[in-house]
Symmetry: C2
């Protein structure tokens, strides 16, 4: 329980900081989301490098996605992704039924509008990790019932 | 090794972000250090609340400091403080011989000037934790040889 707490609390502070420190009438929500996403991207890049230092080469895209769902997710969130689905055409849906970064928000609907702030960093995290493994992607997230959420990964063919 | 990595990488990104996003000619280093320190303060407050949820009441100040050196440090940095000294008059020196947040910097002297950026958050962390336990303090840090460092805690008697 306490294992991922420092990361969780720091993540919350980063959100607060970015939302409070908006300057020059930079009220646009999109820019803040982008900042969080970029931060996640670089953390994802660093983490995946460390995690894959001693692993064997991945067989294919699906193999990479499984690594993200298991080893990578466990490293950051101390649990695996609960469900991975794919259409075998470059779209993957990663479902986490109890996403740790939403865990501290009340489960009611009143905070649903704030969910994107709490998901942006992780979207970047996944995109950064994939990018370092040579996979270009677009990652989005959606929440239906807190604290469950889905991350959709669209692989960008080059 | 990988356990504290997400926290470490995120911490690095926060430093980068605060140092890059300085606006309006806010070049003063002190303000950035303060921002990092404040962030640490709030994370420390949150963490200690969670960690002490089920612990017995502390006997005295020294008992609290020991908890910071062992349980609290292990939660955040996955190791204990290596040495705790006190003058029994409200000054405590916590020595970490291999401080994780300096670990990624080269051990040479050329980065010594950047050490304060990497220590400010943790100074706040300790101050916030102590504050939530009812102990007001001033926390400073110094590095002589990377990645070893000392945190000095001066208890403020009320």
């Amino acid at each position: 329980m306490a294992d991922e707490a420092p990361f969780q609390f720091l993540h919350n502070e980063v959100i607060q900081y970015i939302y409070k420190s908006s300057v020059n009438g930079e009220t646009e929500n999109g820019r803040k989301i982008t900042k969080l996403e970029n931060m996640g991207f670089r953390v994802g890049q660093g983490l995946i490098e460390r995690l894959t230092k001693d692993t064997v080469r991945f067989k294919d895209e699906l193999d990479i996605m499984k690594f993200i769902c298991k080893d990578f997710w466990t490293c950051v969130f101390k649990k695996q992704i609960d469900n991975l689905r794919t259409n075998h055409q470059g779209i993957y849906v990663l479902q986490d039924n109890k996403f740790r970064l939403l865990n501290q928000l009340s489960a009611g609907k009143q905070y649903l509008e704030h969910a994107p702030e709490y998901l942006a960093f992780t979207c970047g995290l996944v995109r950064g990790a994939l990018s370092s493994l040579g996979v270009k992607s677009i990652v989005t997230a959606e929440v239906s019932i807190m604290p469950a959420c889905k991350f959709q990964v669209m692989i960008q063919k080059i």
